[in-house]
């Protein structure tokens, strides 16, 4: 009798499950060994003088550097500044981009007129605009955020507009037959149907926004992770540069994972 309601597994199934379990475990183990191995090797190479740890830095020195920043109470200030700029950058990029895409969807005429300019702007490496932005809005946080926005805006417009235009024409026909206005078609069909596209843009924009923020901080800032990197290299303190890169990696990864979770949540609940 099977009292605990578990299905009875065939022996082939048991062997299969055991095998996949073992493989997965082995993969995780290798991942951990790989990173610990690399860090260990770096540390040993520095200690034994195989590499010049003044130039190459060293894991222990990086950790000490991060702890120093923490003790000086500036660690979270720098992280906070950069994260805030990035978040504002990708949110603005996604919202403004979606809004402009909606206007272009609304008017195929304007869309056709602007198409070549959007394509050219998209091809332009936006960091080239950095100095112009600084001259126009001043060397401050505003310039950094605009930089982040500039990088993500055009791609967002193109991606989201593409999604809007690809919406099933039979569904549009259905709504027209019900007597829907253009605004109702947008509100009830085009926008909700493209929420996955918009979230996907948001995801891409997180990465792009970091590029803009770090570039911007290289050029103008007084605080932030990009500032730490530039400052560290100017005073030739490679520990600080490396520590900043490590912090940046963690911050960017955590933010990206956050968006992935948000995406999963939204897709599950509205699609």
């Amino acid at each position: 009798m099977n009292h605990n309601n578990k299905p009875i597994l065939s022996s082939a199934r048991k062997i299969y499950l055991k095998k996949t379990h073992q493989t997965n475990f082995f993969i995780i183990l290798c991942k951990i060994i790989l990173i610990l191995g690399l860090i260990g090797l770096w540390e040993i190479a520095g200690t034994l003088g195989w590499i010049d740890s003044f130039i190459m830095s060293q894991p222990s020195r990086i950790i000490r550097c991060i702890l120093d920043l923490y003790e000086q109470k500036t660690l979270f200030e720098h992280i906070g500044v950069s994260c805030l700029e990035t978040i504002v950058g990708f949110l603005l990029g996604t919202f403004i981009g979606t809004f402009i895409a909606a206007l272009l969807w609304w008017s195929p005429f304007i869309s056709k007129v602007l198409e070549p300019y959007l394509v050219i702007l998209n091809a332009l490496p936006k960091v080239a605009l950095g100095p112009i932005i600084i001259v126009w809005v001043g060397a401050g946080q505003k310039a950094i955020i605009i930089m982040a926005l500039a990088i993500s805006l055009i791609v967002t417009i193109l991606e989201v507009l593409h999604g809007f235009d690809e919406t099933d024409s039979e569904k549009i026909k259905l709504m027209r037959a019900m007597g829907a206005t253009q605004w109702q078609i947008f509100r009830y069909l085009i926008f909700p149907a493209n929420i996955p596209t918009i979230i996907n843009s948001l995801k891409i924009n997180v990465g792009l926004s970091w590029v803009g923020v770090i570039m911007g901080e290289f050029l103008v800032s007084k605080a932030g992770i990009g500032y730490l990197i530039v400052y560290g290299s100017q005073v030739f303190q490679m520990d600080l540069v490396m520590a900043s890169v490590v912090i940046l990696t963690c911050a960017a990864a955590i933010m990206y994972q956050g968006i992935v979770l948000l995406q999963k949540f939204l897709i599950k609940h509205i699609h």
Binding site: L174, M175, R176, I195
Partner: protein, 256 residues
């Protein structure tokens, strides 16, 4: 019998980049209240175009369409359109899907809401009203799509190959269901289909169109004896073969 639709000498030319496409040429058709009409014709001949014109979505190049004696000039709530596939919105629950038309037309009155709830009850979907379309079977989705169309209380239903996305087995039972719902709700219906058998099973009259530009090639009135049977039973009847062969030959002659 009261006439509900009066199609008078309509033609339509599409203006495409590479020239003018003549889709429909001089079609005349009267449809009585409560009638179930099927339109069959070779693919690309202009069947969907004809439905779009009757629904007011497209203006004919020449000719007019009168509904209840009044010339139409755009979409109206007298007409309910059921497109190819079910086209349910995956982000809306069954209930929100069937309410779509009333929401758009700002007609979510208590009376209309109760009517929709009654439809959901009658056709076995009330318990599924909070589910999402992806959680339903193909046949159920099709019924939801029909209720969405019925919700706005149209007098005339236009169905464009409503079952074309279903597998054969489901198709038989769903077309049977939909036929009974349409008859029970006393609606007039025009259905486009590729499937000759399906047309014979559900129709009172079958309109056969020529290849593009679509013209009426023949109209078959289904024998009143055969009309007494339900769609599934019609397939067993001796007359079924006769109609099938005749229509098949008419469509086949188009190909050459």
């Amino acid at each position: 019998m009261k006439k509900i639709v009066n199609v008078l000498g309509i033609s339509l030319n599409y203006q495409a980049k590479n020239g003018e496409i003549e889709a429909i040429s001089n079609i005349n058709l009267d449809i009585n209240e409560g009638e179930f009409i099927s339109i069959v014709g070779p693919s690309g001949c202009g069947k969907s175009t004809l439905l779009s014109i009757i629904s007011g979505l497209l203006k004919p190049t020449t000719g007019t369409v009168d509904i209840n004696g009044k010339q139409i000039s755009g979409p109206s709530s007298i007409i309910g359109f059921m497109p190819q596939k079910d086209q349910l919105f995956s982000w809306r629950t069954v209930y929100d899907n069937v309410m779509l038309g009333l929401e758009i037309q700002h007609r979510k009155t208590e009376e209309n809401i109760n009517y929709v709830k009654k439809l959901l009850h009658t056709y076995g979907l009330y318990d599924f009203r909070e589910k999402y379309p992806s959680q339903l079977s193909g046949g159920m989705r099709q019924r939801v799509a029909l209720i969405r169309t019925l919700a706005t209380k149209p007098e005339l239903l236009l169905l464009d190959e409503p079952f074309s996305s279903l597998d054969y087995q489901t198709r038989l039972s769903v077309s049977n269901d939909i036929y009974h719902i349409i008859k029970q709700e006393k609606k007039t219906a025009i259905m486009v289909t590729h499937d000759i058998s399906e047309a014979i099973c559900v129709s009172d009259r079958i309109v056969v169109l020529s290849k593009r530009p679509a013209q009426i090639k023949a109209i078959h009135t289904i024998d009143s004896e055969l009309q007494k049977y339900s769609p599934l039973a019609r397939r067993e009847h001796a007359l079924f073969r006769t109609y099938f062969n005749q229509i098949w030959r008419e469509l086949d002659a188009n190909e050459s």
